[in-house]
C-alpha cells in the first residue's frame, strides 16, 4: 500500500504554564514578570496533547480527524506540518521524515487553519493578499491570476476582492484563509477546522470544492480536522476519532458505526437539559451511554441521545426523569447510529457537550 502519511508513535507534551496577559502594558518592566513566569514554568505540570499516535493515510484519501475541542487534533496537524517538533515518535509525509527533512516536507504540504493564526495584511485588499501568497509560493503571475479568480468564486468573495480584511466580516475572513489554501496545489493538504464560523451555504460550497475538485479531480491527500460529525460523514473516506490525545477508533464511517452493533439509539429533543438530568439518566440500569448537546442556550433546548439494549423498558423511565427535572419533551425518535454515538460508546461522553 502506498501511504501519503505515516504517523509512528507520535507523542507531543506541553507544560501547563500561566499565560502572560497579552497587551497588558507592563512596559519595560515586562521582562521581569516574564522571568518570574519562567521560574514558575520550570515547576509546571505536563500535559500530553498527542499520546503515542499511530496512523496511516493512503495517497489520495480524504481523511478526517474527529474529536471534541482539546482532543489534540490541531497539535497533531501542527506536528505533521513541521510547525511543532514532537517529543516522541515521528511522521513520514510523502516519503519524507518530519524530523529529518522538514524543508522537503514543507514543499509537499499545504495548511489551512481556522481563526486568527494565519497573518493576513490588513493594509492589502483581499485580492492583493492572495496575490502576495501566490508570489510567496512562486506561482507565475498568469497562473496566480487565474487561480485567484477561481478560488474567489468558490469562497464567494468575488464582490469583496477590493476590500481590506478589516472591512469584511469574520466569516468572510475565514473564507479568505480558505481561499489562500486553495491557491496552492500540493500532494498533501491539511485543513484544521476549515468550516468553523462559516454560514451553512458557504460551508456547503467549500465542502463541495474539497470533495469534488481537490480530492476528486486533483487526487490530493486531504487530512481534515473537525468536530462536526456531519462534515466528517459527508466528506471523509475514513475517520480517526481522537480523544485526550489518543486515536480511539479509525475506519470508514460505516465501519465505525458498525461498532455500535444492534444497540438501540433513542434521540429525545427536550427543553431544560441540565447536568442533573444527564447524571440521572446515566445511572439507570439499562442505559449504556447518554450524551446531550444544547442547541439553544437560553432555554437549554437540545437533544439527549441514549444508548440501550432495551429501548422499550428504558424510554418510559427517561421520559419520567425529564418531566421530574422540569423538562418538556418535544420529540422522541429511534435514531440511526452516528459518529457521535461511536464517540459516546468509546469515551462515555458526547462529542459536543
Amino acid at each position: 500500500m502506498d501511504y501519503a502519511i505515516e504517523v509512528l508513535n507520535l507523542t507531543k507534551k506541553f507544560r501547563k504554564v500561566k499565560k502572560i496577559p497579552t497587551e497588558a502594558g507592563f512596559g519595560d518592566a515586562h521582562w521581569i514578570i516574564a522571568l518570574g513566569l519562567k521560574l514558575k514554568f520550570l515547576k509546571a505540570q505536563e500535559i500530553v496533547a498527542v499520546d503515542d499516535v499511530n496512523l496511516k493515510v493512503e495517497k489520495g484519501e480524504l481523511f478526517g480527524l474527529l474529536g471534541p475541542n482539546g482532543a489534540g487534533k490541531t497539535t497533531l496537524i501542527k506536528c505533521l506540518s513541521t510547525l511543532l517538533i514532537p517529543d516522541g515518535g515521528t511522521a513520514i509525509i510523502n516519503g519524507y521524515d518530519v524530523l529529518k527533512e522538514p524543508d522537503r516536507v514543507k514543499r509537499c504540504i499545504n495548511l489551512v487553519g481556522s481563526g486568527h493564526w494565519i497573518g493576513f495584511d490588513w493594509g492589502l485588499t483581499v485580492r492583493e493578499n492572495l496575490e502576495f501568497f501566490a508570489n510567496l509560493y512562486g506561482l507565475k503571475p498568469s497562473l496566480a491570476r487565474e487561480r485567484i479568480d477561481e478560488v474567489l468564486k468558490v469562497v464567494d468573495l468575488k464582490d469583496k476582492e477590493k476590500e481590506v480584511p478589516t472591512r469584511i466580516s469574520s466569516g468572510m475572513r475565514q473564507r479568505m484563509i480558505i481561499a489562500k489554501g486553495f491557491l496552492i496545489r500540493t500532494p498533501i493538504f491539511f485543513m484544521d477546522e476549515p468550516t468553523v464560523g462559516l454560514d451553512p451555504v458557504s460551508a456547503r460550497d467549500i465542502r463541495g470544492y474539497i470533495k469534488d475538485k481537490l480530492s476528486g479531480e486533483l487526487s490530493e491527500t486531504i487530512v481534515l480536522t473537525t468536530h462536526y460529525m456531519q462534515e466528517a460523514e459527508q466528506l471523509c473516506d475514513r475517520v480517526a476519532i481522537m480523544d485526550k490525545g489518543k486515536i480511539v477508533a479509525c475506519g470508514s464511517c460505516q465501519e465505525l458505526k458498525d461498532m455500535i452493533g444492534k444497540r438501540d439509539v433513542i434521540e429525545i429533543e427536550t427543553v431544560n437539559i441540565g447536568d442533573k438530568l444527564i447524571d440521572e439518566i446515566g445511572k439507570m440500569d439499562l442505559v449504556e451511554n447518554v450524551a446531550s448537546h444544547i442547541d439553544d442556550e437560553v432555554t437549554s433546548t437540545g437533544t439527549v441521545r441514549v444508548h440501550t439494549d432495551d429501548a422499550e423498558s428504558v424510554l418510559p423511565m427517561v421520559l419520567q426523569s425529564i418531566e421530574k427535572n422540569g423538562g418538556k419533551v418535544l420529540h422522541v425518535s429511534a435514531s440511526q447510529p452516528t459518529l457521535e454515538d461511536v464517540f459516546m460508546k468509546l469515551t462515555g461522553r458526547g462529542l459536543v457537550e
Binding site: D28, L83, N94, W117, L124, L136
Partner: protein
C-alpha cells in the same frame, strides 16, 4: 514517492528577495499610514537635535578639555553620537522587534510553512528599521552641519567612519540576535527584553554617546570598554572630526577591538537564536495562537 510536478518549488533568490522587499514595503506603508504619528516621528528627530544642541552649548566649557581628540566641538560630538547611536540601536533592537512583529502579527507560522521561511519576513522588517535609522541620521547630519555648523566635511575621513560603523553594526548584531532569542528562551514577549534593556541603559551612560568617557570615573569607563559601541563611536568621531586615517593608532585599536567583538558576539548570537527557534518549534510558540 511524491507526484511529479506537484511539489511547491524551493524558493529561488528572486522569490526570497521579493519577500524581503514586500515586507519592507509593508512596514513603510504601516509607518506612513497614520499621518500624525509619521509627522511626530520626524518632528521628534528635530526636537532631539535642538535639545542636545542647547545642552551642548551650556556644558561646552566643562566638556572642552575632554574633547581634544574629537576636535573640541561638543555640539558636533553629541550630534554625531546620536546619529551613530541610531544605527547601532537598530542593530541592537531590530531583531527582537522583528521577532515580536512576526509572533504578535501571526506571520511566523505562515512564513514557516512557506518556501521562503521566517528569515525573509524578519529581513524585511529589519531592513525597515535601518531605513528609519538612515532617515534619522541624515536629518541629524543635515541639521548639525547646516543649522549648528558642526565641522564635518573638510579633512573628514568618511571611509574610516563608515568602516567603524559597519564593524560596530556587525558586533552589535550579535548582541541583537541574543536579545531576539530571549523572546522564546526567557519568554520575554511583551516588546521589551533584558538584553536590549540592559545594553541600551549602559550605552546611554558609559559608551560615550552623550559625553566623552574621560569625564567618567574609572569603574564606569571599564564598563564602557566592554561595549562594542564605545569603540565604534570613538573611531567614527575621530575620523570625522579630527580627520584621522585608517593608519592612526587610535583607529587601528578601535577597529581591532570591534573585529574581536564580532568574533565573539556573532557566533553567540547565531547559537542562541537557533536555539530559541528550535524551542519555539518544540513549545508551539511560533504563533500566539498555539
Amino acid at each position: 514517492m511524491s507526484k511529479q510536478g506537484f511539489e511547491v518549488k524551493k524558493a529561488d533568490w528572486k522569490t526570497v528577495l521579493w519577500a524581503v522587499w514586500a515586507n519592507f514595503r509593508k512596514a513603510i506603508m504601516g509607518w506612513t499610514f497614520f499621518l500624525p504619528n509619521f509627522i511626530m516621528d520626524l518632528a521628534g528627530i528635530i526636537v532631539n537635535i535642538g535639545i542636545f544642541y542647547f545642552l551642548a552649548t551650556f556644558t561646552a566649557s566643562a566638556m572642552g578639555p575632554h574633547l581634544a581628540r574629537y576636535g573640541g566641538n561638543y555640539a558636533a560630538y553629541i550630534v554625531l553620537g546620536i546619529a551613530f547611536n541610531a544605527y547601532l540601536g537598530a542593530s541592537l533592537n531590530s531583531f527582537y522587534n522583528s521577532y515580536c512583529m512576526g509572533y504578535w502579527g501571526c506571520a511566523f507560522e505562515l512564513y514557516a510553512t512557506s518556501p521562503v521561511g521566517i528569515k525573509a519576513f524578519m529581513a524585511g522588517s529589519i531592513l525597515f528599521d535601518y531605513f528609519i535609522s538612515t532617515i534619522s541620521v541624515l536629518f541629524y547630519i543635515l541639521f548639525g552641519v547646516s543649522v549648528f555648523s558642526i565641522g564635518i566635511g573638510k579633512g573628514s575621513d568618511f571611509g574610516v567612519a563608515l568602516l567603524a560603523m559597519l564593524l560596530g553594526m556587525a558586533a552589535v548584531i550579535g548582541i541583537g540576535l541574543i536579545a531576539a532569542s530571549t523572546f522564546t528562551l526567557l519568554n520575554a514577549k511583551q516588546w521589551s527584553n533584558p538584553v536590549t534593556w540592559f545594553v541600551n541603559f549602559l550605552v546611554g551612560l558609559v559608551s560615550g554617546v552623550y559625553f566623552p568617557l574621560d569625564v567618567l570615573p574609572e569603574w564606569a569607563r571599564t564598563i564602557g570598554y566592554l561595549l562594542p559601541q564605545t569603540y565604534a563611536y570613538d573611531a567614527a568621531r575621530i575620523a570625522l572630526l579630527s580627520g584621522a586615517s585608517i593608519t592612526n593608532p587610535l583607529i587601528v585599536k578601535d577597529l581591532s577591538e570591534l573585529i574581536l567583538f564580532s568574533f565573539v558576539t556573532i557566533p553567540a548570537g547565531v547559537f542562541f537564536f537557533k536555539r530559541s527557534l528550535r524551542k519555539a518549534e518544540k513549545d508551539g510558540t511560533l504563533s500566539r495562537w498555539s
